[in-house]
């Protein structure tokens, strides 16, 4: 295990981006950061800049307006990087996918149509325990498949 993998496992810093979420997932992500669930005990910190982050936590259906930004943020993050898609919307468009008849006019059919995703956390919104699980699994998986 190289030093980068080792460091990644001990301090998976998080960047949160809302790509058009209804806020349900966002507040659960914030609840994950606050005392009751406290993701910080895994060494995870919420960061403001993509350049400091290892894990991109995305919530919400990817809207056309936000799609360019998510690509830019993903490219600004240093390698190795991981992406966690939180919420059904982010995974597949969820309620905004018009029951199999394609997404709403402004929504992409899932985050993985734009950037590679390492963990999917289903739920609408997922419980903080599930988000915690997603983040810790990704941190453990670190190093595998990264440049």
């Amino acid at each position: 295990m190289g030093i980068i993998d080792w460091a990644f496992r001990k301090s998976p810093w998080i960047l949160h981006f809302n790509t058009g979420s209804c806020n349900g997932c966002d507040i659960e992500i914030f609840a994950t950061l606050t005392p009751k669930y406290d993701v910080e005990r895994l060494g995870a910190l919420l960061k403001g800049s993509p350049r400091h982050a290892d894990i991109l936590v995305v919530s919400g259906p990817v809207t056309r307006q936000a799609s360019g930004r998510i690509l830019r943020i993903y490219e600004q993050m240093p390698d190795p990087k991981k992406v966690v898609a939180v919420g059904t919307c982010c995974i597949s468009g969820g309620v905004f996918s018009n029951g199999g008849k394609g997404p709403c006019y402004n929504v992409y059919p899932g985050l993985d149509s734009l950037v590679p995703v390492d963990a999917y956390v289903p739920g609408c919104p997922p419980k903080p325990e599930a988000i915690l699980d997603g983040i810790s699994k990704v941190a453990k998986k670190a190093g595998v498949g990264c440049k």
Binding site: F17, N18, T19, G20, S21, C22, N23, G24, C25, D26, I27, E28, F30, A31, T34, P35, K36, G48, S49, P50, G60, P61, T63, R64, Q65, A66, S67, G68, R69, I73, C89, G94, V95, F96, N98, G99, K101, C104, Y105, N106, V107, C124, P125, K127
Partner: protein, 377 residues
Amino acid sequence: MSSSYERIFDIPIGPQHPALKEPAMLKLKVDGEHVVGVDLDVSYNHRGIEKAAEYRTYIQNLYLIERICGICNVAQTLTYCLAVESLHGKEIPARARFLRIVAEEISRINSHLLWLGVAAHEIGFDTFFMHIWLDREITLGLMEALSGNRITSSYNVIGGVRRDVTEDLLSRIRKGLDDLEPRVKRYREIAINDRSILKRTQGVGILSPADAAATSAVGPTLRASGIKSDVRADDPYSSHDQVPFNVITSDGCDAHARIIVRLDEILESIQICRHCISKLPAGPILQRLPRRAPQGEAMSRVEAPRGELFHYICSDGSDKPYRCKVSTPTLANLPALVRMLTSKGRYVVNIADVPVILASIDPCFSCAARVERTGGV
């Protein structure tokens, strides 16, 4: 305002920025340290919900409308249900009306606590943020016990509510409220006395009563400017006329007044919940309504945690709405926000105060994103 700088610079904030919890783009025009103009783009969350609603039945729409905003989902479904019920011209059972109030007030407490935490975070008081969010878990627990989910509750359905309460659950809610009340009182004390909170919020983001009225501000933003206006009192929609409560106002007109107004509203909501629980009428919780709504138009408004929420539904007699229009409180508060963010005369806005002012209206851009701005990503 005197400044040695001649030129006016643009500072873009967003759409991804540590001070923003949701994507939005603020282009600040600054003259030295002072903000002299602002250009706001809140369309990043536009998902096309109003259009999507036209392709779904009234029942399916319930779950779509709920997802306009996760924080005030109870208010969203309530407004939608009221509009559909008024299309049918039917009253819903009294027990359901009281249970709706309980759910609405619990979600208001939750929303205000959440906001208070975010506001504390914006002024750099993270300890306060963490404490508040820990206590907020009490309300989430109550919501989960009442409806089965922490956030997206689907509690209101067309014609009533989805779940009944038991005696056991009522006493649990009572206990939760009893636990919460002293905590909120303590936070109110801290917000009034703590020097760092006072320094960061007093005199910041001033909205005079005249400006508040001129820009049609709503909700706690309006009430913190001393104007008494609350849909629950002015146009009681769900048995609110049988519940005694005070409309909280403050004359501070600044960000600090908005904190106090919201804290007082939490205490008021706790009383409303207690009253509804003790006076809960017996009877059914659901009045079944036909799938097709009669032809016509209906409007409804509700006091959501952030202010007046307005729905309009046009029906052509089928089982799908012909048009669904939503007007949310954040949208109504944006003109007031622009005024608060612009230095004028002796009132100056420093760049460092921008996050506090922005947070003080409790923005919810996922509600406000009703249109898409094309042309720039």
